[in-house]
């Protein structure tokens, strides 16, 4: 059984920033880093601000970590692990994401 679900076209992503997609009734923020040709997918819900805004944050890097800074209170979340760099007791759920034939796909949970 195919575990990957197509959610949008690659060109619908926003370069070096995020968009929000609806995936299995969850809000998922998908980030596209053009500079490293990498994709990231995390939960769109900011656990600190309690609002669905993560996809509207600014992408950044510190040392080797790539993160998104929440647009509301600026906490940074590692895009690979989802862990909040500023308050590690908080974390975003992460999703596996890939591009297949110009289609962006998310992997269904186990």
């Amino acid at each position: 059984m195919n575990q990957w679900t197509t959610i949008c076209k690659h060109q619908e992503l926003s370069e070096n920033s995020g968009v929000c997609v609806l995936f299995e009734e969850q809000q998922v923020a998908v980030f596209y880093c053009k500079r490293s040709a990498a994709l990231y997918a995390v939960s769109n819900f900011d656990p600190i601000a309690q609002a669905n805004v993560i996809s509207r944050g600014i992408m950044g890097s510190t040392q080797e970590q790539t993160y998104v800074a929440s647009p509301l209170y600026k906490q940074r979340f590692d895009l690979n692990t989802g862990i909040c760099l500023d308050s590690p007791e908080f974390a975003l759920k992460t999703f596996s994401v890939r591009v297949e034939a110009e289609q962006v796909q998310l992997k269904k949970a186990g």
Binding site: I7, C8, E12, L13, S14, E15, N16, S17, V19, C20, V21, L22, Q27, C33, R35, S36, F45, I48, A49, Q50, A51, N52, V53, R56, G57, I58, M59, G60, S61, T62, Q63, T66, A69, P71, L72, Y73, K74, Q75, R76, D86, S87
Partner: protein, 800 residues
């Protein structure tokens, strides 16, 4: 010396050293409007005119001084004033309204300040001095002569070696002053500034020892001839001298207080060196300049073209500084004063201390390291180099910290450059690299990035990162670079290349709220709005159920719009003739205005029209932080212009311009920048000042903090903007014009671009909306459902 501040808009409260609250807090009972008329040193008590009797263990007399008016017949007439108290200044201002000509008698320091005041009141101003030169106490002949030349070029006429014998009725003016040499001068107003006399009446009357020419005699502990009675300040006579400056007064007060507490400070005289700006001219005098030191030799530098005079007087053996006179350029003051006060050895070739800076490293600058810890850096608040070192060690890293902690450089401000040098040297010594890099991705300050972008004509973040950055960028450098790019090229902020740079608000051209919805603020220039437009706002708010509030900037804010609603809302607003208000940007926000002379019976000029013009000129200008303006139509200041970045107040001769004020967390009154401007000049000053701010400020630095950190402060800013010292004015104006030419209403552009409109959806792959949002009603309007906040949210502070 703060008195002249009154004429540049400071109030009596601003100038007061403290207030009633301070006394209350410290348990001090203070009595006003009750004069002490009897001093009973035998029974240790004082009696006042209202009959109050107070006894004391220790008594401090701080009765100050009064201005000396020479006994000239006719000197007691209605428009003859002294220059001393705020009442005097108000009386001078009143006289100024019914006068064309004004004379100051006395060409000393205070006299020249008074002349400046008269000249600012628009009077044809004269200075009459008994001695052969101006500032006879502080300057030598060469310095006095140059000062005179410069002052005369400013239109103030100087008459030296004139003794006034009487003041009679004038033929052309109100009064005629007859001089001892037979000549005369006619004038409508006279201000006496012929020195001070100690206020020693009480001491004299009740048997304390006073000097032959006045002054309560004190010893090194500030005790008078009665040991439990002290005298401090200008009423006190120490070793035959009266000290008419602030710093020695503070020093005496400290000495007396320490003696009362049983400690052992002593007053050992005070350095009377002075540096000041008189009618815009730098003048400084250090040490002894009248050739009273045997064997002293001197160096003189005189530049008639630039009008600079500097004389250095050194000891016979050439090793120590005796004194110095600086006119036209007083930059060397700090260095020279330290050499004198700390009795330091001069460099091998002392002339470098006064020679103009040739741009090469020479020894003119005094190595800060060479100063002993005891060296006084700020004489107003008696802050030593040691005090600053301590403060830095305790964590002060910026000038603002240091000012707050030590008060250094918050009095006359003359020591600010020196204080900054000590700060930097200390930080370096403690191993801090004084690093102003914007973040880990760019090893440059915001100002340097601005230069790189401007000079290399860089137009995208990607180009900048390639040319001088590392990594991916971050939430610090991206918006900062976005702002710089917008300031210079003013592209549409949602161009593909710029989207990643836009912070929470700019990204969707709205102000993000706590639940992720946005507020909408259309521009209402100057707060002026037609009824039809107001109705449109109401209709739009109604249709989209938006919570509606009037803002502090005289506009209307509509809250609770969801991402997908923004285009429809803006379509209606743009169709009705509204433009974006840029409330979401670090950019020009509003020009607040009173209604002005159109309606107001007090209005002096048309503040409304000016406000609308200014707002339309600068709208959309992106800057290091938000910029607010206000225009008031008269001095009643209903628009609160002095709390804005740029404040403009109508006068009967034009517009006064105030700069770098702000409200908010740390309020600051704007500084008076220029007076009585016509609209064209006003506009060019605003152009230059704002572009200079954009070019040199740090990220998220308001104009107030920018000015406080600008080396040279307000005077320097005036030199750059008004006198065009850096030869930048034309370039800055041209940059502003180019920004203005590229103005666009970002919402109008967005509405015409179907690709960009696609961004305004909650999901890229669904038309549904954010199901998490929930609203309730409060006072008949829709607000987000109130959640019980479990714990306070830690806000990551990106501003300084």
């Amino acid at each position: 010396m703060q008195l002249s501040g009154f004429f540049s808009g400071k109030t009596a409260d601003d100038l007061a050293l403290t207030d009633a609250g301070y006394y209350q807090e410290h348990g001090i009972n203070f009595v006003l409007n009750d004069k002490v008329i009897e001093l009973d040193t035998n029974n240790n008590r004082v009696i006042t005119s209202s009959g109050r009797i107070e006894s004391y263990d220790k008594l401090v007399l701080a009765t100050g001084s009064y201005p000396f008016v020479p006994p000239i017949p006719g000197s007691d007439q209605a428009h003859c004033h002294v220059y001393r108290t705020i009442d005097d200044l108000e009386a001078i201002t009143e006289s100024g309204k019914v006068s064309k000509t004004g004379v100051v008698i006395g060409g000393g320091l205070l006299g020249l300040e008074a002349a400046n005041a008269l000249s600012n009141l628009g009077l044809d101003t004269h200075v009459v001095e008994f001695a052969p030169r101006l500032m006879a106490v502080q300057l030598d002949n060469g310095g006095g002569a140059l000062l005179r030349r410069k002052i005369e070029q400013l239109g103030v006429k100087v008459h030296t070696e004139k003794a006034t014998s009487e003041i009679t009725v004038g033929e052309f003016c109100r009064y005629r002053m007859n001089f001892a040499d037979g000549s005369f001068l006619e004038t409508d107003t006279i201000v006496f500034s012929a020195g001070i006399r100690p206020q020693d009446e009480l001491a004299r009357q009740f048997g304390l020892e006073v000097g032959e020419r006045g002054g309560i005699v004190i010893n090194d502990q500030c005790q008078t001839s009665v040991p439990n009675v002290y005298a401090v300040g200008e009423c006190a006579l120490w070793q035959g001298q009266i000290f008419g400056l602030v710093a020695p007064g503070y020093q005496m007060a400290k000495t007396a207080a320490s003696h009362i507490k049983g400690e052992q400070l002593s007053f050992s005289g005070a350095d009377m060196s002075t540096k000041l700006k008189l009618l815009g001219i730098d003048v400084a005098s250090i040490g002894e300049v009248h050739g009273n030191t045997p064997g002293a030799q001197s160096y003189t530098f005189s530049d008639e073209i630039e009008q600079v005079y500097k004389r250095l007087i050194i000891s016979q053996d050439g090793k120590k500084l005796v004194g110095a006179v600086l006119v036209g350029d007083a930059q060397a003051y700090g260095t020279l004063l330290q050499l004198l006060l700390n009795d330091m050895t001069l460099p091998d070739n002392p002339s470098v201390l006064i020679l103009p800076d040739t741009g090469e490293e020479n020894s003119a600058g005094l190595g800060i390291e060479a100063l002993p810890d005891s060296a006084s850096i700020c004489s107003c608040f008696d802050v030593s180099k040691g005090d600053i070192k301590q403060a830095v060690a305790a964590g002060c890293c910026t000038m603002s910290d240091l000012k707050e902690t030590t008060k250094a450089s918050t009095g006359c401000g003359g020591c600010s450059a020196l204080t900054k040098q000590v700060l930097d040297a200390e930080l370096a010594a403690l191993g801090f690299t004084v690093n102003n890099h914007i973040c880990e991705h760019f090893a440059y300050s915001r100002q340097e990035l601005t230069d790189i972008i401007r000079i290399k004509k860089i137009s995208t973040f990607a180009q900048l990162l390639d040319s001088c950055g590392t990594g991916l960028g971050c939430e610090i450098c991206k918006p900062a670079v976005g702002s710089i790019l917008a300031s210079y090229w003013n592209d549409y902020v949602l161009e593909d290349a710029h989207i990643e740079l836009q912070d929470s608000n700019d990204l969707y051209l709205g102000n993000i709220q706590k639940d992720g919805t946005y507020s909408v603020v259309p521009r209402i220039a100057g707060g002026e709005i037609t009824p039809d437009k107001l109705i449109t706002l109401g209709q739009v708010a109604n249709e989209f159920d938006l919570y509606t509030k009037i803002t502090g900037g005289q506009r209307v804010d509509l809250f609770g719009a969801q991402l997908h609603e923004l285009p429809a809302i803006w379509k209606k607003l743009v169709d009705a003739g509204f433009e974006t208000g840029h409330a979401y940007g670090k950019s020009v926000r509003t020009v607040k205005s009173c209604v002005g002379s159109t309606w107001c019976r007090y209005g002096v000029d048309d503040s409304m029209a000016l406000a609308v013009n200014i707002e339309n000129r600068y709208k959309g200008l992106r800057s290091p932080h938000k910029i607010k303006f206000a225009v008031s139509g008269c001095t009643r200041e209903c628009a609160e212009a002095q709390t804005k970045d740029i404040g403009i107040i109508a006068t009967d001769k034009g517009w006064n311009m105030y700069v770098c004020g702000n409200g908010g967390m740390r309020p600051r009154h704007g500084d008076l920048f220029a007076c009585d401007l016509d609209q064209q000049t006003l506009q060019s000053y605003i152009d230059r000042l704002l572009m200079f701010y954009i070019r040199t400020a740090d990220r998220l630095q308001r104009t107030s903090v920018w000015l406080e950190n600008l080396e040279g402060g307000l005077d320097y800013l005036k030199e750059v903007v008004i006198e065009d010292k850096l030869n930048l004015a034309a370039e800055l104006e041209q940059e502003m014009q180019s920004n203005i030419n590229n103005y666009q209403c970002e919402w109008k552009t967005t509405l015409q671009n179907p690709e960009k409109l696609k961004r305004f959806k909650h999901f890229v792959n669904s038309d549904t909306t954010d199901s998490h949002l929930a609203f309730e009603l409060e006072r008949e309007q829709r607000i987000p459902v109130k959640k019980v906040q479990q714990q306070s949210i830690k806000i990551i502070e990106l501003t300084e």
